[in-house]
């Protein structure tokens, strides 16, 4: 299958106080369309930075990013760790934030917003304002905002890390279902091995200073998955062992 995301020899350096700090170095990654890839790694290693490079928010200092997208107006959409909703917009207007590029008519926009909110289980919430929502609901709106633009690629930066355990699990379930339904390519940054195993087809591990990919494992579990049942716990411990066996982790 052709790779929808292709990173070749990506390097990224930040200038700080006149000194250049290299964050990413010689990073190669290619992700087939429709795959769910989890990016694991210790905090501060550059996982979010990698996501921003793929999103085109940070130009790499060296190397090449190739996205083979169908060419919609917004082929890549992002979900941040904080929901990052605009407090002055209603839920519906937040979900439609990416649809205000002129080529989307009002009626089509309304329809896309409604189906995106439906998809994340917030059907009747369009008129509410962000401050009236719980943390989990806010993150659902952020997910709806990303899905509404119908991107080829969904980039998610530890989207559930700030939620309580129950909310996190229910959102993981929703995301797994949405991934099966929409077949979007997902790059999901997390520091939880359980979360990565539960959600991803492939897990890549980012580590080192400057960071590069140190491991790439495939999760041998069929979908839909369930926690605690069947092979899941075995696979988690096997992958954990595999990841810990690499000396840097």
């Amino acid at each position: 299958m052709e790779a929808i995301i292709k990173l070749e020899q990506i390097g990224l350096a930040f200038e700080r106080d006149g000194r250049s700090t290299e964050v990413l170095h010689g990073l190669d990654l290619s992700i087939p369309a429709g795959h769910f890839v989890a990016v694991l790694g210790p905090s501060g290693v550059g996982k979010s930075t990698l996501l921003r490079v793929i999103a085109g928010l940070l130009p790499p200092s060296s190397g090449r990013v190739t996205l083979n997208c169908k060419g919609g107006p917004l082929p890549v959409a992002m979900v941040f760790q904080d929901a990052r909703l605009l407090p002055w917009r209603s839920v519906a207007d937040n979900a439609g934030f990416g649809l205000e590029h002129g080529q989307v008519s009002r009626a089509v926009r309304r329809e896309k917003i409604a189906s995106a909110l439906e998809l994340v289980g917030l059907g009747g919430f369009g008129e509410r304002y962000p401050h009236e929502l719980s943390g989990g609901q806010r993150q659902r709106v952020a997910l709806a905002r990303a899905l509404a633009v119908d991107p080829d690629i969904l980039l998610m930066d530890e989207p559930f890390a700030a939620l309580d355990a129950m909310t996190r699990e229910s959102l993981q379930d929703e995301l797994a279902r949405i991934h099966i339904e929409t077949r979007k390519t997902v790059v999901f940054v997390t520091h939880s091995i359980d979360e990565a195993v539960y959600l991803a087809d492939d897990i890549v591990v980012l580590d080192g200073k400057p960071a590069g990919l140190v491991a790439n494992v495939t999760v041998p579990l069929p979908r839909p998955r369930s926690r605690g049942l069947g092979d899941f716990p075995d696979v988690v411990s096997r992958i954990r062992a595999e990841l810990f066996s690499t000396p840097v982790f």
Binding site: D82, R84, W88, H131
Partner: protein
């Protein structure tokens, strides 16, 4: 405290204020020509009203007020936003701002007269200078403190041009701060109206000055009350507008 109790206390406080004010000249502590009692005001107000002076002064002042406020706010908010967006602009203006900022509004009077003559334009100029600085600093601060992460969000959703970011994120995010500044400017501008008209531009300030020269202190008080009432109405109207614009806030 219940709402009714609060209202009753406010009414009582104001009535007591009027009562003491009435009592002081009545007891002969000061002559009524120096402190006219409130009971003398309706008659003075009626004289001003029936001669048509009150209405035309109020109208002229309101015109100066609104023009000065509009010009000052538009320029101040506009330049504040531009400066907030581009650090280069802020650096360029840093010393100009430092040089001009501390000049009090009244110090501009000689230049206002030189440039515009004894004309409403002079009053409008003085009013707008005061308003300009307030709204400039409010807008600059509000734009500068817009969350960087919201700007990144705009980038991530394809709003990369500065004008799109301005409309989608910066202006709405900065609106509370800008509106607070404009509200401060509303009050400041009324004070500037009197200052600007005292040197002879027609309006409430000029009429007040004439009355004070004739020792018609009751008429002076009528115009003070007029300004207080006008400010009260405008401020209440603005607060209503503000809370409607910011209805998304908790």
């Amino acid at each position: 405290m219940t709402r009714a109790r609060t209202a009753a206390l406010s009414a009582f406080g104001f009535a007591a204020f009027l009562g003491i004010w009435e009592l002081v000249p009545w007891l002969g502590l000061v002559p009524p020509s120096i402190l006219p009692p409130p009971s003398a005001l309706p008659q003075a107000f009626w004289r001003e009203l029936s001669s048509g002076v009150w209405f035309s002064s109020l109208l002229t002042s309101l015109r100066n007020y609104i023009a000065g406020l509009a010009i000052g706010c538009l320029l101040g908010v506009g330049l504040g936003i531009v400066t907030g967006l581009w650090p280069a602009m802020e650096a360029t203006l840093a010393w100009v701002v430092r040089a001009l900022r501390p000049i009090p509004g009244l110090a501009w009077v000689p230049f206002a007269i030189l440039w515009f003559g004894i004309d409403p334009a002079a009053a409008i100029f003085i009013i707008s200078t005061g308003v300009f600085w307030i709204s400039y600093f409010a807008a600059l601060g509000a734009v500068r403190s817009v969350d960087r992460e919201l700007l990144e969000l705009a980038d991530a959703f394809g709003y990369r041009r500065a004008d799109r970011k301005l409309v989608k994120v910066i202006l709405p995010a900065a609106a509370p701060g800008i509106l607070t500044g404009v509200r401060t400017a509303l009050g400041q501008a009324w004070m500037a109206v009197v200052a600007a008209e005292i040197f002879g531009v027609p309006g409430l300030g000029q009429r007040m000055m004439q009355a004070s020269n004739l020792l018609a202190s009751d008429i002076v008080v009528v115009y003070m009350a007029t300004m207080a009432t006008a400010y009260g109405l405008i401020d209440a109207g603005f607060v209503a507008l503000q809370s409607w614009l910011l209805r998304w806030k908790r």
